[in-house]
Amino acid sequence: GEKEKTIKVYTRDTTSGTRDGFFSTIGFSEAVTDNTVLADGYVEVDSNGGMITAVKNDEFAIGYISLTSLETANVKGLSFNGVKPTEANVLNGTYALTRNFNYIVGNDFTNQTEAEIVEAFLAFLTTSDAKSTIISEGGITEINNEDPSWNDIKADYPISNKDNSEITIKFGGSTSVEKIAKALSAEFSAKCGNFIFEHNHTGSGDAYKRTQGSEKSGTNALHIAFASRDFKDSEEATLGTSGKICIDAIVAIVNKINDLDNITEVTMKKIYDGTITKWGEIE
C-alpha cells in the first residue's frame, strides 16, 4: 500500500532563500545551488505558492515552506527532530530549521534627508512598534521589556517631525521578506513625515548588489533592502549598515493524508539526496 509509494521530493529553485536556509540547516549545503545532487524525480517549483499547490495535490510529496504560510496552506507541517514547528519553539531555540531575515541599507547617500530617514528607520527596527509589526506579518522575533517604543526615541530623530512627503525611499531585495517590509515601510512612513516608499523586490541576491554592491548607483539602486538568508562573505557590508530583523522558520510539509508527523535531520537529508526513496523506509 502506501508504504510502497515513492517519496516525491519537491524543492524551490536555486535562487530561493528558503531553499538556502533549508538545505544549509539539514546539512546538505551541496544542494543549495545544485539540482544535480538531488534525488531522482525531484520537482522544482519556483515559489512558496507553487510548493503549497504541489504538495496539496500530491499525496506522496515532501517539500518545505516558510512557517508563515503553514496555517492557511492546508498541508501538514512536520516536527523537526521531534520539535513542533511553533513560534515558541523557534524562539526558545529548540526548533532548528530556521533562517534569518536580514536588512542592509546603503552606505553612502548624497542626499542628507534620505540618509537621516534611513538612519531613523534602523532605529525604528529596534522598537517594539516595528517588532510587533514584524510579528503580526509572520516574522518571528521577541519583544523585550527594555525595547523602546518609537515614542520614546523619536525625539532623537528630528527628521521624523519634518514633512518628508517629497522624499522617496526605495525598498527591495528578497521576495520572502516583501510582506514584512511593506508593513514596516507603511507604518514608518506615517511616523516619519510621510515619505514616499517604493518596493521592488527581486530576490535576496539583489539586496547587497543594489545597496552597496555593483548596482548601488544605477537606476536599480535601493535605500533599504532585505535578504531572506545570511549575507555571504562576498557581500560584506559596511559596519552598522546591516543586521537581522527576525527569524523565519522553515517547515517541512507533506500532504494532509500523510500519517508522518516527525522527521529527523538525517532522514531529511537522506530523502533529499535519494538514499531513502520509499515512504516505508522512514522509521
Binding site: 512558496n48 496555517e71 507603511a186 511616523k191 536599480n220
Partner: protein, 401 residues
C-alpha cells in the same frame, strides 16, 4: 457491415465535437465554481492592497472607557472597555483577518489620532485590525495581533487603558489597479498599433506593386505572426525596457514598455484583418472616385476607409481580446508586481498577469484567480460576439455588392 462501419465513423465525429462543447462547459463550471463567491462589485472597484492607518489614542483624559453595552452580535466578541465588537473573517484575498463589526456611539475608536496626519480618524465598522499595542494602568506592555484571533484580541483590549500604536486597514484584494492597467494597456497599445497597422495595410493593399519587395514584406509580416509571444516578451525586455527607462525615466518594466511590446504582437493581426476589410470593398468604388478627379489619397480617405470601418473595428476588438489575454509577453516586458496606483512609467499587472501573479505568489489564491478569470471570460465573450455580429454585417455588404 458497411452500415455498422458508417455508424461508428459518424459516431466518432459526434463524440469529437462533443469534446469541444464539454471542454467549454468544464472550463466555465470550473471557474464559476471557484470564483463566483469572490465576485462582487467591490472586487472591481477596490484596491488590491489595503489602506492602512497607523493610529493611537494616548491621552486618556479625553475619553471614557468601560461599560459599553454589548449589542450581542453573533460570532462576535465585544470589548466593554472600548465599545467595539470584533469578529474573525476573511478579506477579499482570502486571508484571515480580525474585523470590526460594531463601534459604540461614544467609543474612543470614533476619534483616534492618525499618526500620519495628526488629525482625528474614526476606525469604524469594516476595518481590519492587524496589530494593537497597548498599556494598562501599570504601564505594562500589551500586544494584540490579528493572527491570534478576535477573541484573544478582545481579551487583551479589555486589559488596556491606552492604545499606543494600532494598525487598522480597510479594503484590499480588489483588482481596480489591474483593471486600470489593462485599460491603459489597451488604450496605449491601440493608439500605437492601430494607426501603424492600418497604414501598413493601406500601403500593402492600395499602393504596393506586386513585386519582390512587396512579397518579401508580406513574408516578414507573416513570420512575425508566427513568433510566440514569450519571444516578444524577451525582446520587449531588452529593447523597450532600456528604451523607456531612458525616455520616460521608468525603472525597469513599465506599462509603456508593455504597450510597445504588445504593439509588435498586434501589428500582424491588425494588418491582416484590415487588409481583409479592404479587399471586400468593391474595386469600382475606387475607379469611380479616381475617374471623378479625386487623388488617390482622397479616394482612400473619403471612400475606402469609411467603408472599411467595420473591418477596422473587428481588428480593434480582436486586438483588445489579445491584449486582455496576453500574459507571457507581459510577464517579461512589464513584470508581475500588482499595483494600485497605476502609472504608465511603472510596473503593474494586467488582469491576466494578475492571475499569474496570484498563482505563483506566496499564497496561491484559486478563488480570486477564478473570479478574475470570470471577468476576463465575460469580456472576451462579449468581444467575440461583437466580432461575429460585425463580420456578419461585413458579409452582408459583400453579398450586397
Amino acid at each position: 457491415m458497411r452500415r455498422i462501419k458508417d455508424f461508428i465513423l459518424n459516431g466518432i465525429t459526434y463524440v469529437s465535437s462533443g469534446i469541444g462543447i464539454f471542454i467549454l462547459i468544464a472550463i466555465l463550471v470550473f471557474i464559476f465554481r471557484n470564483g463566483f463567491g469572490s465576485l462582487s462589485m467591490s472586487l472591481l472597484t477596490s484596491d488590491y492592497y489595503q489602506t492602512t492607518y497607523n493610529t493611537n489614542i494616548i491621552d486618556s483624559t479625553f475619553y471614557k472607557l468601560g461599560d459599553f453595552e454589548d449589542p450581542k452580535i453573533e460570532n462576535s466578541f465585544f470589548s466593554e472597555t472600548w465599545g467595539i465588537s470584533l469578529k474573525n473573517g476573511n478579506n477579499v484575498a482570502g486571508e484571515k483577518i480580525v474585523e470590526i463589526n460594531y463601534v459604540a456611539v461614544s467609543s474612543p475608536f470614533k476619534s483616534m489620532n492618525d499618526v500620519a496626519t495628526g488629525e482625528k480618524r474614526e476606525i469604524g465598522k469594516g476595518y481590519a485590525l492587524s496589530k494593537i499595542i497597548m498599556t494598562n494602568e501599570n504601564d505594562d506592555f500589551i500586544m494584540a495581533l490579528a493572527k491570534d484571533g478576535a477573541e484573544e484580541v478582545v481579551k487583551k483590549l479589555e486589559q488596556a487603558t491606552i492604545i499606543t500604536d494600532m494598525i487598522a486597514s480597510t479594503g484590499g484584494g480588489g483588482i481596480r489597479g489591474s483593471l486600470l492597467t489593462t485599460l491603459y494597456l489597451i488604450i496605449l497599445t491601440l493608439t500605437l498599433a492601430l494607426p501603424t497597422g492600418i497604414c501598413a495595410a493601406i500601403y500593402l493593399h492600395e499602393f504596393s506593386l506586386n513585386n519582390r519587395l512587396t512579397r518579401f514584406i508580406r513574408i516578414m509580416i507573416d513570420m512575425t505572426s508566427g513568433i510566440p509571444s514569450i519571444i516578444f516578451g524577451l525582446a520587449g525586455a531588452v529593447i523597450f525596457i532600456p528604451f523607456m527607462n531612458g525616455v520616460i525615466n521608468s525603472n525597469g518594466g513599465s506599462i509603456a514598455s508593455g504597450a510597445l511590446t504588445l504593439t509588435l504582437i498586434l501589428l500582424p493581426i491588425i494588418i491582416k484583418t484590415t487588409e481583409e476589410a479592404l479587399k471586400v470593398i468593391p474595386v469600382n468604388y475606387r475607379s469611380a472616385s479616381l475617374a471623378l478627379g479625386a487623388s488617390k489619397t482622397q479616394t482612400i480617405f473619403k471612400v475606402v476607409l469609411p467603408n472599411a470601418v467595420s473591418g477596422i473595428l473587428t481588428a480593434t476588438l480582436l486586438s483588445i481580446g489579445r491584449i486582455i489575454g496576453e500574459s507571457a509577453a507581459l510577464i517579461y516586458a512589464v513584470g508581475t508586481a500588482i499595483k494600485d496606483n497605476v502609472a504608465i512609467n511603472e510596473k503593474s499587472t494586467s488582469l491576466a498577469v494578475h492571475i499569474w501573479s496570484l498563482m505563483s505568489g506566496e499564497n496561491p489564491n484559486f478563488a480570486l484567480a477564478s473570479a478574475i478569470a470570470i471577468i476576463i471570460m465575460i469580456i472576451v465573450f462579449i468581444l467575440s460576439i461583437s466580432v461575429k455580429l460585425i463580420s456578419q454585417r461585413l458579409n452582408k455588404i459583400k453579398v450586397g455588392n
